[in-house]
């Protein structure tokens, strides 16, 4: 073959290779990105005993137009899951088996109500109520449809952060408490301390990568009495994995270690809607930290040999 023909052959071969790697379903524009919808949430529990996974499947995501005293509900999302296979994560109501979860939204995307239903009966209910400035004012938590457990009223500081939360517990006035928050730890500021009566949760990011707080990792400890009257620091680490403006994964890690000592008891976590909808709320990350007082269920502290850390991962799946 002559040289020009060889060159034509090589050039033609390279040109033929220059086809596209972009597929029709790839996201190229912001509009297409906005069209992505949550399709499922995989919940993976990694414990020292075993790993297990459950899936929250979105079975309905529909528009609606329902006027309420708290605004117009324009979106209704219905989800289904088969309960949790392992005991690291559990429901406050103790419900097991196949359940339905639903979430309604106001016209600007703010959550209105989150419910958990078993056999057509509401077992847990969270109601979000907003003020005239669209700021979250109240979160009500019900066990069952009518049994109001907590009525939480938000108080904001001049920076627009939640400085305290006044908790009323109609069924158990002994649980009435004002939960206070402090902020700090970088830019943007995060909740550095939560106090609820004698309970104190303190940010301590030694268990985050590079031993520092950042937007994708935040860690807290609480002191808890253990065997022999020793106090230990129980730690939880919350990590976020962000994609292109979408949240891809939230993991809650149980670091079973304190200053080189290892706590043998593993914590449990109560499922809280913030674990799957915090990105829909203006101060969702702060609320996730504040509501540790509810969803973090630490066990008694004992020292012992090294034990595997445990975690619960919420993996968000999106599709067109």
């Amino acid at each position: 073959m002559s040289s020009p023909r060889k060159f034509y052959a090589f050039a033609f071969m390279l040109c033929c290779l220059s086809c596209t790697i972009i597929e029709d379903t790839d996201i190229l524009t912001s509009d297409q990105l906005d069209d992505l919808k949550l399709t499922a949430i995989d919940i993976v529990q990694e414990t020292s005993a075993r790993n297990s996974s459950s899936t929250i499947r979105i079975i309905k995501d529909s528009a609606m137009n329902l006027s309420t005293s708290n605004g117009t509900i324009t979106r209704y999302v219905e989800m289904e899951m088969d309960g949790f296979a392992a005991g690291k994560l559990k429901f406050r109501s103790g419900v097991t088996g196949t359940i339905t979860l639903y979430q309604s939204y106001l016209s600007d995307g703010r959550p209105h109500t989150f419910g958990i239903v078993k056999n057509n009966v509401i077992v847990e209910l969270h109601r979000y109520r907003y003020g005239t400035n669209n700021r979250l004012n109240v979160i009500n938590f019900f066990l069952g449809e009518d049994n109001l457990v907590y009525h939480d009223s938000m108080v904001y500081n001049s920076d627009g952060n939640i400085s305290s939360m006044i908790r009323e517990a109609p069924g158990d006035p002994a649980m009435n408490v004002t939960i206070t928050m402090e902020y700090g730890g970088g830019n943007p500021v995060t909740v550095s301390r939560v106090r609820a009566g004698s309970l104190e949760l303190q940010q301590s990011n030694g268990n985050c990568p590079n031993n520092s707080q950042q937007q994708n990792c935040i860690a807290y400890f609480r002191s808890i009495a253990g065997q022999g009257g020793n106090n230990g620091n129980m730690t939880v680490v919350i990590k976020n994995d962000h994609g292109i403006s979408l949240l891809n994964e939230v993991s809650i890690e149980d670091f079973r270690m304190d200053n080189g000592n290892t706590g043998q008891e593993s914590d449990a976590y109560f499922f809280h809607p913030l674990m799957i909808n915090k990105q829909d709320l203006a101060l969702g990350e702060d609320l996730m930290s504040i509501y540790m007082v509810d969803w973090w269920d630490p066990r008694s502290y004992t020292t012992g040999s090294a034990i595997q850390h445990e975690r619960v991962r919420f993996k968000y799946n999106y599709g067109l």
């Binding site: 002559s2 020009p4 060889k6 390279l14 220059s18 790697i21 972009i22 996201i27 962000h242 993996k315």
Partner: protein
């Protein structure tokens, strides 16, 4: 016809036009001189920064890093000038996310790219051993990042300029000792690399010369 079909057709159309122009140019020049060309195979490193401000006010610095391979075919238009076509793809690609506070990894995603285009090379001379060269390119670049359940892509083009040096091993074989290149993005679909204008590559490889001249 949706926008995807239109984009695909436009991709084929522009590739076909480029191939046609290149072949016409090669055919015309071939009438006046002895044809001479080289082919090259190179490996290198590509790094593209992608600063991102998310809708919730956070700022992340993402970086696409890739170990690349590249094939080239260049037609010699004289002793110093050559024009050709190149094709560049990933051997390994990673879209890595940092937060803006301390640079700790937020995420790592599988990612890939495809880059191809026209290359114009000007050699520094016919020195017996080391031959420096400069080159300019017009390129098309596609990048794809894999997320759970979906992929985000960017379709870009632009111009690049670089310098390199070849070591002459024999009459036909050269080693591209080092080749540095800076690329400017002139058009982007604005999801990935929306605020990025420049990226860099480093390469090394082998060039085989099919020249009839000695």
């Amino acid at each position: 016809m949706n926008v995807f079909d239109l984009n695909t057709i436009m991709d084929y159309k522009r590739t076909a036009i480029t191939i046609g122009l290149l072949l016409c140019f090669i055919s015309a020049t071939a009438q006046f001189r002895l044809p001479s060309f080289d082919i090259a195979v190179k490996a290198g490193f590509l790094s593209m920064s992608d600063d991102r401000h998310t809708s919730n006010g956070n700022h992340y610095n993402f970086t696409y890093e890739s170990i690349t391979w590249q094939a080239e075919a260049n037609l010699h238009l004289g002793q110093r000038l050559a024009i050709g076509w190149f094709y560049n793809k990933k051997l390994y690609g990673n879209y890595h996310g940092d937060s803006d506070n301390d640079g700790t990894a937020a995420s790592d995603r599988d990612a890939s790219h495809l880059m191809y285009g026209i290359n114009l090379r000007l050699s520094g001379g016919r020195a017996p051993k080391f031959r420096p060269y400069v080159q300019v390119k017009y390129y098309w670049l596609e990048t794809v990042v894999q997320y759970p359940g979906y992929r985000v892509a960017a379709d870009m083009n632009g111009v690049a300029a670089g310098v390199g040096v070849m070591l002459r091993v024999s009459n036909k074989l050269y080693i591209n000792l080092i080749e540095g290149e800076l690329s400017m993005i002139t058009k982007n679909e604005k999801v990935l690399f929306a605020d990025s204008n420049l990226f860099a590559q480093l390469r090394a490889g082998l060039t085989y010369n099919f020249s009839k001249r000695k």
